[in-house]
Amino acid sequence: MNIFVIMKRTFDTEEKITISNGQIDEGGAEYIINPYDEYAIEEAIVLREKHGGEVTVVTVGDREAEKELRTALAMGADKAVLIENEDLDELDQFTVATLLATYLKKQEVDIILGGNVAVDGGSGQVGPSVAEILGIPQVTTVTNLEVSDGKATIVRDVEGDEETIEVSLPVLVTAQQGLNEPRYPSLPGIMKAKKKPLETLDLDDLDLDEDDVLVKIETVEVFLPAAKQAGKVLKGDVLSQVKELVSLLNSEAKVI
């Protein structure tokens, strides 16, 4: 099987966010593979272990993203592709989806996996957008995936309900939590990853001009939420605390 994973490098979820000069401060932040993309990588490796073939992990980013691509290779992916964005002043979901899809169009694809959302931007647009550009079906927020005879049987999470879907390949699926437990890279895995192919592409390599990937949405401002005032920790025995809480919820907060 020709298995592709679209991946994003994101801030670690334990990072605090600060803003300097009107931008998210990226200095000193720890980066990780977007956790939902990690499920996608794990599932891709499981598919290859069952059906053979090759797993290629693709990302759009700057040079630093090589680190997360190497992590994916250390987990067990076979090849990595970095589509460099350094020529571009601005990126939005349209830009990223177009870059990924342009690369993928030239490949033989059986299945594409990605996270259902990235924990930074949080739009969840890129997966479905890539599927649309490629003209293939999609199944989003999947929690189970079985492939046989050119067909996928997929369980997806629909706001807590479980829907079982059947679809022919090629298909793009986006991973939901619960799909699997991503493996940690092993030491031999890390050693092997250093020798696995990591290809870097730019706009020219994809026969794209900057005009082809111009953003359609612009960011006007980035800001932090107002700091929360320290709350009220109640005192007294349990019953009086509970009574006070109920009365506060009723008369002060007016939520019950």
Binding site: I17, L249, N250
Partner: protein, 328 residues
């Protein structure tokens, strides 16, 4: 400048979802005096069209088709594109629900438009509409506007207030016939698992448990508290990882991001990744035995103590108060 705006409503379990009414309110703001049209898709759904009028749309376009009974990407994409083709809206608003998330990016690409996802508020900036949306699951926010194409946005449930319902409002309800073909996905089975019928993303009250609930059984008192308030049960990553509950309940930067009116964090210490998912709730109550737990820094009200003692008493007390309220 006024705009013609299309609201794509959503039917779930035979009812219009609240977010559809919220979308009308957002759509009115985008329309800026222009016409607001409500689209409703499904099978045998015309009886719901009046509600859209009551909540402020000027008229309704209804699409009835057997293939629209349950949502599939292909069927809804084809049907909605035909509605858009006949109406040529300059703005589209959809709820940021499972359906909205799955469908909107594909529609935006077909229309050669951008898409602003998961907006929680909007404001007018001269001629432009600016949408406010959380990033890093609410650790920060950004303001976005459209540079090219129509004004297309999905809105997060529970954040934009719907307009006052007015049952005297009327308007035209037009049925349009759509052609749906070549469906590539087939739904084989649906298992309902959503807790007590209250969806986390739309719940007004959420009672969440963490590692402090200790095991699966430990969620029972939380469910009882949620039931009294007509709320839903959620969980922290710690509780899900420890297998006390299903991952579908997880709230946090991985998991669901929620903004209920009232959030109970029970036995949850308050890791940054969990806070990202819930700290924009309107009122937060923390119950934890550790007075140093970071959850108390975001809580409006805190009780330090044993959750297994406190929660049942709280449930009883709420029952009493709510009963009194009902009988008054």
């Amino acid at each position: 400048m006024s705009k013609k705006v299309l609201i794509v409503s959503e039917v779930r379990d035979g009812q219009l979802r609240n977010v559809s009414f919220e979308a009308i309110s957002a759509g009115k703001a985008v329309a800026n005096g222009g016409e607001v049209i409500g689209a409703i898709l499904g099978e045998d759904i015309n009886h719901l069209a009046n509600s859209l009028l009551h909540y402020g749309v000027d008229r309704v376009v209804a699409v009835n088709h057997a293939d629209l009974k349950s949502y599939t990407t292909d069927a809804y994409q084809q049907a909605l594109l035909q509605v858009i083709d006949s109406e040529s809206p300059e703005g589209i608003i959809i709820g940021h629900t499972a359906l909205g998330k799955d469908l909107s990016p594909r529609i935006a690409l077909k229309l050669n438009s951008g898409l602003i996802s998961d907006a929680v508020a909007l404001e007018q900036d001269g001629e432009d509409v600016v949408f406010i949306r959380p990033i890093f699951s609410g650790k920060a926010f950004e303001k976005k506007k459209v540079k090219e194409g129509i004004v297309f946005a999905t809105i997060r449930p529970n954040n934009i207030a719907p307009l006052e319902k007015d049952e005297t409002r009327t308007g035209e309800i037009t049925n349009i016939t759509v052609d749906i073909r070549d469906l590539r996905t087939v739904i084989k089975d649906v298992v309902r698992k959503a807790t007590g019928g209250v969806d986390l993303s739309e719940a007004k009250v959420i009672v969440s448990g963490g590692r402090g609930v200790k095991n699966k059984e430990g969620f029972k008192p939380l469910q009882e508290l949620a039931d009294v308030l007509g709320g839903a049960v959620g969980a922290s990553r710690g509780a899900c990882d420890a297998d006390y509950c299903d991952y579908s309940l997880q709230i946090g930067q991985t998991g669901k991001v929620v903004t209920p009116d009232l959030y109970f964090a029970v036995g949850i210490s308050g890791a940054i990744q969990h806070l990202a998912g819930m700290s924009n709730s309107k009122v937060i109550v923390a119950i934890n035995k550790d007075p140093e737990a970071p959850i108390f820094e975001v809580a409006d009200y805190g009780i330090v103590g044993d959750l297994f003692e406190i929660v049942p008493i709280l449930t009883e007390e709420l029952k009493n108060v709510l009963n009194v309220k009902e009988t008054v």
